[in-house]
């Protein structure tokens, strides 16, 4: 028999392959050359320094929202609210960036911490309601997403600016941007945030695997009742998990607000960074290392896709379809396991 560990690695890999295969079939069906299409995708993400820089820039917030969703998953919670947490984090980071004057060594950390706190508060509400009243966190986080979107837009328009659609850029003392990185990557928008994201992944691994608090969080995820019986405070752990998950997503907002864009503008719809984080977490098997790898894959797909229409004539949305199918296959891992076990039996 295969071990569980083996399945945890093979299921995502098979899912990605199936997803890409399905994408190739769709390209064939519509008269495109799939080899040319995927070649364009590859060149669009690794082809030159500019594309490479943009890919890493896209990977940065994906790592953080992926960590956010994955962290909550480990405690048995589904954080669909990463999207809203990103938006409030973005708002908080830019607000601190614009309103406070301080040297970089204070200003930048302050703005980043503000984003984490804002995201944490947005995670605290569903966590509290789940712990104390047993309300399903999925619904609450979806509602919180819309509340975040609409209130943030109102604040950008009425408080941060005078009826304008976007704020000024944050000063250099609160910015992740670096001329050195930009020049090194042919003027992509690559910024130092990737270091924060990788550090956050390390924090998640350390917290979950090496500390007592992490043990409790995971234990609550495995079996709420047993954890309660063992004397753990289940309510506290649920709230803590959502707060930390929210903080991760808030940091992703800081990456956009202090790095990629440097400002916040009125959003007509969601950024989708949070929703993509769900896919990242699922594919990454909810582990820190897995999330980093999955974020890299999705960053490559998303940025590489931008190159597909010009080179191969394939609409970028093909990648959205591939990502959706990958999620399906990961979610239906029961089927993949079943087929693999079948194949193994027949092979004997």
């Amino acid at each position: 028999m295969y071990s569980n560990r083996f399945f945890n690695i093979i299921v995502p890999v098979v899912s990605v392959l199936l997803g890409l295969l399905a994408g190739a079939i769709i390209m064939l069906a519509f008269g495109y050359n799939p080899i040319l299409g995927y070649q364009a995708l590859w060149n669009g993400s690794f082809g030159d320094l500019y594309f490479f820089g943009e890919t890493i820039r896209q990977v940065t917030p994906y790592i953080l929202t992926g960590l956010s969703v994955a962290f909550a998953f480990r405690t048995g919670l589904f954080n669909i609210g990463a999207e809203g947490q990103v938006i409030v984090g973005w708002l908080a980071a830019v607000t601190v960036g614009l309103t406070i004057e301080a040297p970089m060594i204070i200003h930048l950390p302050l703005a980043v911490i503000a984003a984490a706190i804002a995201g944490a508060i947005w995670g605290f509400v569903p966590g509290l309601l789940k712990a104390k009243l047993g309300v399903h966190e999925v619904i609450i986080t979806i509602m919180m997403n819309y509340i975040a979107l609409f209130t943030t837009n109102a604040i950008v328009r009425n408080v941060l600016t005078d009826q304008k659609d976007s704020t000024e850029k944050v000063p250099e003392s609160a910015s992740f941007m670096s001329n050195w990185l930009m020049e090194a990557t042919d003027y992509s928008r690559l910024h130092y945030g990737i270091l924060v994201a990788l550090f956050a992944a390390f924090i998640m691994w350390f917290l979950l695997e090496k500390t007592t608090a992490g043990y409790e969080l995971r234990s609550v995820g495995y079996n709420r009742h047993a954890s309660n019986y063992a004397g753990m405070n289940v309510d506290k752990n649920i709230i803590l998990s959502m707060v930390i998950a929210g903080a991760f997503a808030g940091l992703a907002g800081a990456m956009e607000g202090l790095g990629t864009f440097g400002y916040i503008s009125v959003q007509s719809g969601f950024t989708n960074i949070g929703f993509d984080g769900i896919a990242v977490a699922l594919l990454g098997g909810n582990t820190a290392l897995g999330v980093v790898l999955a974020a890299l894959l999705f960053g490559v797909l998303k940025i590489g896709a931008l190159n597909m229409p010009t080179v191969a004539g394939v609409p970028t949305e093909l990648v959205e379809i591939v990502i959706a199918l990958i999620i399906f296959f990961v979610a239906s891992s029961y089927m993949i396991r079943w087929v693999l076990l079948r194949l193994k039996k027949e092979g004997k």
């Binding site: 769900i278 949305e317 029961y334």
Partner: protein
């Protein structure tokens, strides 16, 4: 502006904002009553809107005035077929239903925009030539006051939505089929023991939600948006999901909630012209549906009880 004039500027738009939400929320009620969580309502609406618009553009010349009605029928059928993906994943493959629903949302939007670019060569379709038009309901429109408020400048689809909510209630609560559907969502093992095919019931329920979601999406597209792009359906599906819960998983409750959300939306659009409301910042009206749903769930507006087996895949023989 007189009081009646104010009402007249609020009620018809409220009704036409609410209609797509009512259809979709009814679909959500069917699916969740059978024990399948349907976060994919948004995606089903996207599919419905896409099919409704494309069919309307392609066959408008052929069918003339009947086009919008045929378009929504076709959208229902295609969305229903599309929703089988969700059913297969969450009923047969025992996937996490929330995850599968999220995938439905990604997939519908991806497919819709991909095919739009494929067929029209740009990110959005042209405007349709045969949308739904408002009408004055014959005879009833002449009733003093009430006629002005409820039967003038209305879309027939708004009445259809309200009628369907009552039909949905009748089916769920007054027919053997409805009883079976609800029992599968409350206690699938007991239902199975009584000879009800749990998997078949859940497949049917998800397909009904697909049909109604598609209806909601296409009605939205053919009354409000009039074309299809990636930003045609932005959140209406999630709002319908909120209506399902705010309405306590009951067809008439969901209808009431959807009407209320429609009212909030209508107020946020026209608030500047209404006395009392002109000083309320628009943002409060925009977030009202979501805040109220949270409050409802938190039990401040009466306890909301989900179907017992909602979200749990049924595995034959397990306890």
């Amino acid at each position: 502006m007189g009081f009646i004039d104010v009402l007249q500027s609020i009620i018809p738009p409220a009704m036409f904002f609410a209609a797509p939400l009512i259809f979709t929320a009814l679909g959500g009620v069917f699916s969740e009553r059978s024990g399948v969580v349907n976060i994919g309502l948004e995606g089903l609406m996207v599919m419905g809107a896409f099919v409704g618009i494309v069919f309307n553009l392609a066959f408008g010349e052929t069918f003339g005035a009947a086009t919008p009605w045929i378009s929504i029928l076709v959208a229902m059928v295609i969305s229903s077929v599309f929703s089988i993906v969700h059913a297969v994943a969450s009923v047969s493959f025992r996937a996490d239903q929330v995850v599968s629903g999220v995938a439905i949302n990604f997939l519908a939007l991806g497919l819709g925009v991909f095919l739009t670019k494929q067929w029209y060569g740009k990110g959005q379709t042209d405007m349709v030539d045969y949308p739904f038009y408002t009408i004055d309901f014959p005879i009833l429109a002449d009733i003093p006051i009430l006629g002005r408020l409820f039967f003038q400048n209305m879309y027939l689809t708004s009445y259809l939505a309200i009628a369907l909510a009552f039909v949905g209630w009748y089916i769920l609560y007054k027919t053997p089929f409805g009883l079976r559907l609800r029992s599968v969502g409350e206690h699938p093992m007991a239902a199975d023991t009584n000879g009800i095919n749990v998997y078949a019931m859940r497949y049917i329920a998800v397909m009904i939600s697909g049909a109604l979601g598609g209806l909601g999406g296409s009605v939205f597209a053919l009354t409000i948006a009039l074309n299809f792009s990636s930003s045609t359906i932005v959140g209406q599906g999630f709002m319908s999901l909120a209506a399902v819960i705010f309405g306590k998983w009951h067809p008439l409750g969901a209808m009431g909630a959807a009407l209320f959300f429609g009212l909030a939306q209508s107020l946020s659009v026209i608030s500047s012209g209404v006395p009392l409301l002109e000083n309320v910042p628009q943002v409060y009206l925009l977030i009202a549906p979501y805040v109220l749903t949270i409050l409802a769930l938190a039990g401040f507006i009466g306890r909301a009880e989900a179907p017992k087996a909602n979200g749990e895949p049924y595995i034959k023989g397990s306890r």
